[in-house]
């Protein structure tokens, strides 16, 4: 059966539910079951999208938001990876650092927001810092865990075959930890968007969150919902990219091979 289903139909299946909801929503607003103050019609949102992108406002906000998100992500993921490699490969650093990191991890990073605003003001640094902090822990934990769960027997084999410390890391430990690291990265991407939304909603003078808060003051619910949808879209895109990386790097792993590929 599967072989006769065209590939594009197969791809379409995950989209059926969202599209159905959208149609229902439009119907609900056009027939007046839902007040537009509560929820704007999808077509109004589309109009807002066209207007804002024509004026260039949307792109400016989008660019600012993405720069924040990925800037913070890069810093946080890099720090998390480095820390994870370090504690994962050395018992001494593990003893030195891991307990502290585990303790700090239990503080929700968003709870630090007031303190961070005191430290950095409401400028870019505060947002970058919050995002980096939020991203760092999932990446760290999964890197550490990934390295620790690499098959001991493979490591012994690598040693017995004369691999240097660096060779062992590159050929055995890193690829062995990669599935777990990528799980951390995907999780961290979720944290990244969440932190961005909170940070931009609380204090910003640009970005998608600012656009939404600004529109709220004028009861432009269509712009508010547009901002929410943009966040959702960005989140989806980042997840698709992460999945692509998984397929690319983990092609050897039967769990990550696409069915039929």
């Amino acid at each position: 059966m599967k072989t006769v289903t065209p590939a594009f139909l197969h791809r379409l299946v995950p989209w059926l539910l969202p599209v159905g909801l959208l149609l229902g929503w439009q119907a609900g607003t056009s027939f007046g079951w839902i007040a537009s103050r509560v929820l704007p019609a999808p077509l109004d949102i589309g109009r807002a999208l066209i207007q804002l992108s024509a004026s260039g406002e949307l792109w400016a906000h989008l660019k600012v938001s993405c720069a924040r998100a990925f800037g913070g992500f890069a810093v946080g993921a890099f720090a998390g990876l480095l820390l994870g490699f370090w504690t994962g490969t050395s018992r001494l650093t593990e003893r030195l650092l891991d307990t502290s990191v585990q303790m700090v991890r239990n503080v929700p990073h968003l709870a630090l927001t007031p303190l961070v605003i005191v430290w950095f003001g409401i400028g870019e640094e505060a947002k970058l810092f919050l995002i980096a902090l939020g991203v760092m822990f999932p990446v760290y934990l999964n890197t550490f865990h990934g390295i620790r769960s690499v098959d001991r027997q493979l490591i012994e084999m690598g040693r017995a075959y004369g691999l240097s410390r660096w060779g062992l890391f590159r050929e055995v430990i890193l690829p062995g930890a990669l599935p777990s690291i990528l799980v951390g990265v995907r999780f961290a991407l979720g944290v990244m968007w969440l932190t961005l939304i909170v940070a931009e909603t609380i204090a910003a003078s640009s970005g998608i969150g600012y656009m939404a808060m600004n529109a709220r003051e004028f009861f432009q619910t269509d712009v508010v919902v547009l901002a929410i949808l943009l966040y959702a879209l960005l989140g989806k895109l980042a997840d698709v990219a992460a999945k692509g990386l998984e397929r690319h790097w983990l092609g050897w792993n039967p769990n990550f091979q696409r069915a039929g590929a």
Binding site: L154, E156, G158, A160, Y161, G162, L163, E171, G176, W252
Partner: protein, 260 residues
């Protein structure tokens, strides 16, 4: 490709005679916690000799092998390989484990080439061809059968032209037919390349098929050292074969009977 393969063949054949190393262990002691595993163990292996170690589960066969490999340090005693004391891993030694231990993220060919310097592909291909898996070079290890994985592991060990090959129950997980095939393959490559071989096995018939000498370990020391003077390749059904196999089995079981 062709030329490289030919060269590889020539190299390995030329190295064949006098290629293996002599191994001698003196007074080897090893304890894990309170448990004494090796007790004043002495062992001598001549260059190019094929020695099989048998013994009951947990008697210290793997431990002895890991010491000869340099993967572990003895509490006391020395291991000499060609008159040089073994400290740490030797570049002239390769180990084949009970599990194939292939890196799942590398192709079959890349696995065979692991740790080879320079232009390793032709060498790795030739070694794969030696174990009859040339056409699987670009597959992931995950899609191979157990026996094929062990053949890849054998190729990976032999591509380094080791002078000492240590095998820790490499065929233990294979079915009987594949096992006999693999034994033939190991014997053929051993005769071609002339390395010294130390094989741990729980299969007495396998030990008698392959080894010049069968050694039984009991109580952390050598309890039996039996020469197998049969001509190769050996026939399992053979009278002399059965007699030797019986002798080893009897010796292993006699102790079990005494103990229970």
């Amino acid at each position: 490709m062709q030329i490289a393969e030919l060269e590889y063949d020539l190299v390995s054949r030329a190295a064949g005679a006098g290629h293996g190393v002599a191994v001698s262990a003196r007074g080897l002691e090893k304890a894990y916690g309170a448990q004494q595993v090796l007790r004043a163990l002495d062992l001598d292996i001549a260059p190019g000799e094929f020695v099989a170690i048998v013994g009951r589960s947990g008697c210290g066969k793997s431990t002895l092998l890991r010491h000869v490999a340099g993967l572990e340090r003895a509490d006391a005693g020395t291991i000499r390989v060609d008159d040089a004391e073994r400290r740490g891993l030797g570049a002239d030694t390769r180990v084949m484990f009970q599990e194939a231990r292939l890196l799942p993220w590398k192709t079959v060919l890349e696995n065979v080439g692991l740790g080879l310097p320079g232009d390793w592909r032709p060498l790795a291909r030739a070694a794969l061809a030696d174990v009859g898996l040339a056409e699987r070079a670009d597959d992931w290890p995950a899609v191979l059968s157990g026996g094929q994985k062990q053949r890849v592991a054998l190729a990976r060990a032999l591509v380094h032209s080791p002078r000492l090959l240590l095998l820790d129950e490499p065929l233990g997980a294979l079915d009987a037919l594949t096992r006999i095939e693999m034994q033939g393959l190991i014997e053929r490559l051993w005769r071609q390349q002339g390395f010294t071989a130390l094989l741990v096995t729980h299969d007495v018939a396998e030990a008698v098929t392959l080894a010049d000498r069968v050694i039984l370990i009991e109580n952390g020391a050598i309890a039996l050292d039996l020469r197998i003077p049969l001509p190769r390749p050996r026939e399992r059904g053979d009278g002399a074969f059965a007699e030797l196999e019986g002798e080893v089995l009897h010796r292993v079981l006699a102790r079990e009977a005494r103990e229970s």
